[in-house]
Symmetry: C2
Subunit: 361 residues, 2 copies
Amino acid sequence: MIERAHAVIMAGGQGERFWPLSTSRTPKQFLRLIGDKPMLGLAVGYLEGLVDPARILVITRADLVQATRAAAPELPAENIIGEPFGRDTAAACALGTALVAARDPDGVILVMTADHIIDDIDVFQTTVSEGFGLVAGESILMTIGMAPSFASTGFGYIETAEAVPSDGETTFLKAVRFVEKPDRDTAEKYLSAGNYFWNSGMFLWSVTAFLRALQTHHPRLLQMAKRMTPLAGTADFEDRLKAEYDRLERISVDYAVMENADNIVMARGAFGWDDVGSWPALANHFAGDADNNVVIGTCEALASRSNLVVSQGRLTALIGVEDLVVVQAGNATLVCRKDLAQDVKRLVHRLRSRGSYEDLL
Amino acid sequence: MIERAHAVIMAGGQGERFWPLSTSRTPKQFLRLIGDKPMLGLAVGYLEGLVDPARILVITRADLVQATRAAAPELPAENIIGEPFGRDTAAACALGTALVAARDPDGVILVMTADHIIDDIDVFQTTVSEGFGLVAGESILMTIGMAPSFASTGFGYIETAEAVPSDGETTFLKAVRFVEKPDRDTAEKYLSAGNYFWNSGMFLWSVTAFLRALQTHHPRLLQMAKRMTPLAGTADFEDRLKAEYDRLERISVDYAVMENADNIVMARGAFGWDDVGSWPALANHFAGDADNNVVIGTCEALASRSNLVVSQGRLTALIGVEDLVVVQAGNATLVCRKDLAQDVKRLVHRLRSRGSYEDLL
């Protein structure tokens, strides 16, 4: 374990992109998409031996606190913190940092998400460990970037400049700019330029560095953090958090802080990372059969190729179809062209606007 | 009601083509595909006012007798007869005729199926009524043929010659040949020739004419019929039928009798008929929505066209798909290209060969 090392796992989510398997009540971090553990359990596992479970906080939706405790039984119950409403990642980062500050004002923090996949845990731990060494006692903010493997328009990018000297195995680069999700042409340019990296949404900082950054770039969040710190673990915490959150805008930590800060270092993550942002992305983590179909559950396929089928405890039969995502869960079945999988979110919004459909599930 | 008129409804079926809604235990005649009644109930309804319910027999699988009685409560329980094994239509016609012979040796019989759709019941009843008039006391066998609306390769055809004089509204033609399901080119020729008709599988004959035809063309079936007639309604019936059927070959009435007989008259059926032989055929009986999707049940569709969705009490969501059949039933979902719907049967055979899948449903 690294001294003074803490982790804040952000586990919100509305359960949209993996509908109908994910729902509002069972968002992605609870799904056992890969192996036997829920995604959140995998995230906790990535930290094993690196961060003491007593120093791992999970920030989730208030209505998911009980389910989150069940999904991460390794963690102390009081480390699972519910947000009364989603206020995006800036608020979650500020709250998480405030809670660590209450315990360890000189601590360093890894912020990560509950629903991403990391392939090489050893390399991940080395990266984080060396990153902690660099941010400890310093005022820098660190982000973990991934060398793009294709011209993705689904990620934000980090533009980097010269290397930051370090003794370890990890490459650290000065980050000069955070950029939002680009269009296709721009993404191609970033890919060929070689100094642009995907923004993974994982960050490292010391308590003091992040609070100082909030003071400069988003003082309102600093006020919230300062007011909440002394309430950590008290009976007033929940009501007060609700009052604080009620007055906050929704804003991401990238937009509120990282895009404006000039003291950012990027750790190059070389551990194999995937945010598994859609059904087809999930398929990439499984070997297909002879017809390139990926089946989780039971499927009988005739003359069908390159489909993803999720059909646990049920039977899906395919005849003559290609490049589809077919998912049975609850009382619903999704049949979606793979290249339109981003529209699942739009579909769920439409179902929710109708009111009653989620009750069917 | 027409005097001496009887009907034999053939209600076998393995529940293959409408899987997963149909199964071995609930073949097509039990499905409420169109309106509120099961297909068998529709068939009984077509005979209302034409044939006394006391004179309507249903020949079904022995294991379906109870379910058949429930689906056709208008009929006397003893009129539902179970076959110990399926032996195709020749055996069913012989058995049905034998049972009518036991009650009314001078009767006339309409043989029909339990799972076809008739649009204009008045015209149907006129056709059958005039047909009964023609076959009564005569040695002719009558079949009902349909003017082909396209070059179907899924039906057998009847080649016709000169008209048979009659006083009514129905056209009767001398049938010169029964031909099996043709290939595409042959079907095109039949369509343009104008004197070829689809074989609907509906027949009319007098008891004596059909028994005489069996004597000439398939004496073994005549023996079975003669031995079973005196056992109708007795305690020995079931065991004896099993012994008789055990020795019979599987053969259709077309092949065993109609293709060889030279005394066949075809009634031209002009009442709108469909055997609803597949999922896409069912879709033709419903108006589609603005995107030509036919939905039976609940469906949310984005950018999807010309699909058939059967999803009763469940939700099916489509994104970006066209010309598919999507059916949820039991614990299974079928996703099938419309033009490959005939392969559903092959799929069900494969599932049955695996043994355990139908238990999932």
